[in-house]
């Protein structure tokens, strides 16, 4: 099987013919796809499908509404630290995007949220009881992705995103309705978990036909717009001025001081 593939790329995704043309998923990029804006092209690359102008508006806002140039946030902080350490913008942003594949936010959460909502919707449509599904998920996963938040319980992105979806007539999809029903169940129980942005956007994306894996790829640049400002401000200031850590900020909780085998004892080393 390997021998057949040596030295060749067999593909349906595209290729460049230098000096001539470029093909993107079976279409001439500079002819039939030339009018697509970047997000449409990005989504076409992921799904091979096109979306309505209203859906594109909402999908674009999913990125915009969570682009926070706050250098305290863990992924943004990576970009900002790259700036203060005088690394390159590309390295800082690439690393921050990779860091966004996290378990408590970003890639890990959105994928789980989408998978749960799509699975739950299919099971409810087949006659399953949503409350039982939620309880079972809580028992198995010790939480439901898209509900609750690491730092605060409320989510400032929910209201503007819902308003936009409503404005474009996209707030009545089955997955979105189910996402709110899940929130009702979680608020009524002892968990007191509000829906967060991941569940809302996973529901909207599912209503637009994005599978969990497609939604995951769509979300990868979601935090991107907030990152360059973090880098640029840190790079503009004198090097090392962002989040300097004095020695006293290390809280040591390890073993007492000791000597490496064969090392001569030093009186001051027992400190």
């Amino acid at each position: 099987m390997l021998e057949e593939q040596v030295g060749r790329l067999v593909t349906r995704m595209g290729a460049v013919f230098p000096g001539e043309r470029a093909v993107f998923r079976g279409h001439d990029l500079h002819a039939s796809l030339k009018d697509l804006d970047w997000l449409e092209l990005y989504l076409f690359g992921i799904t091979g499908r096109r979306f309505t102008p209203q859906q594109i508006k909402v999908l674009q806002a999913i990125w915009s509404y969570t682009s926070y140039p706050d250098a305290r946030i863990w992924n943004n902080r990576v970009t900002a630290l790259a700036g203060t350490a005088r690394s390159t913008g590309s390295l800082g942003i690439a690393a921050a995007l990779a860091v966004s594949d996290a378990q408590i936010y970003g890639g890990g959460v959105v994928l789980r949220a989408s998978e749960f909502l799509i699975r739950a919707r299919a099971q409810v449509d087949a006659g399953a009881d949503l409350t039982k599904l939620v309880y079972a998920e809580l028992k198995q996963q010790r939480g439901i992705a898209g509900y609750g938040r690491p730092i605060s319980s409320g989510d400032e992105r929910i209201a503007p995103m819902l308003a936009l979806a409503r404005e474009h007539g996209l707030d009545d999809g089955g997955h979105l309705k189910l996402a709110f029903e899940v929130e009702k169940i979680l608020l009524a129980g002892r968990w007191r978990l509000y829906m967060n942005y991941a569940a809302l956007t996973a529901a909207l994306s599912a209503d637009f036909g994005l599978s969990p894996r497609e939604y995951y790829f769509f979300v990868i640049p979601a935090f991107l717009a907030g990152m360059p400002p973090c880098y640029l401000e840190a790079a503009k200031k004198p090097a090392g001025l962002l989040f300097p850590l004095p020695c006293r900020m290390l809280s040591y909780e390890g073993v007492a001081r000791r000597h490496w085998r064969g090392a001569p004892l030093k009186p001051d080393a027992f400190g």
Binding site: R8, L9, A31, P244, M249, E253
Partner: protein
Amino acid sequence: MITESIHTRIWQEEPEPDNAFAAASCHCHGYDVYGDLLAHASWIEYLFLLFRGKAPTPGQARLLEGLAVALANPGPRDAAVHAAMCGGVGGSTSASCLIAALAVGAGASGGAREVLLAMEDWLERGTDPVLWQTGLVVKPMDDPADVWPTPGHPAGFDPHGIRCTTPVLQTMAYLAALDCAPSLAWLQDHRAALESAAGLPLAMSGVAAAALRDLGCTPAQGEMLFLLLRLPGVAVHALEQKDYGHKNFPFFKVELENDPGPAQDVANPVEATV
């Protein structure tokens, strides 16, 4: 007013008397790094200390050193090294070459994720041949909610292998003969049966997983160490290809199965796609 701190069981510092931002002493798991380890510990011993929190026995140091030599350079055909060389030939930054290798070498097919999964199998199955036999015939479960794609083969085995390769056998034989490698010794004794159950030959990732288990690493520690230990070869191959340049590096032939041809102009791509 500082109210927050970084909690650590690994690292303790005392500041220079005139500079709160410069350490006068650094202790790693209790050992004075610059006043003691620098003169008395080898790099591989220090590496063990960092991960395990204690000094290695001579056998453990030898095991880690042997593993480090075995993994240091997967060679230019390895996908992670290939990725780093793509950075090198284009004149990309050194860090991006290493990032490229880490990203590709992180995967569940020949990469660090495979080592982690194999180490999880060790935790579950130990040295019980029956558990291994039954576990290896079960296809890896697809989890659509996981950012990691589903592995296509049992962790630690070569999906394209014909038989266990000479370097894998040599590495296992050398490491298993050390006095602190019971998992490796067991793996060596049971290799044929395990390969038969998996339907695939043992891979270097499988040997690495057993060695890292014998070193007392958790699967997460093993994943990290595997990523780290392969970087030396990655670095030098990226540097070498930077010197050779892109004209001396394969670009490969493309076979586009749905080429619309020149001057194609379709108004609605959906119609053409669906």
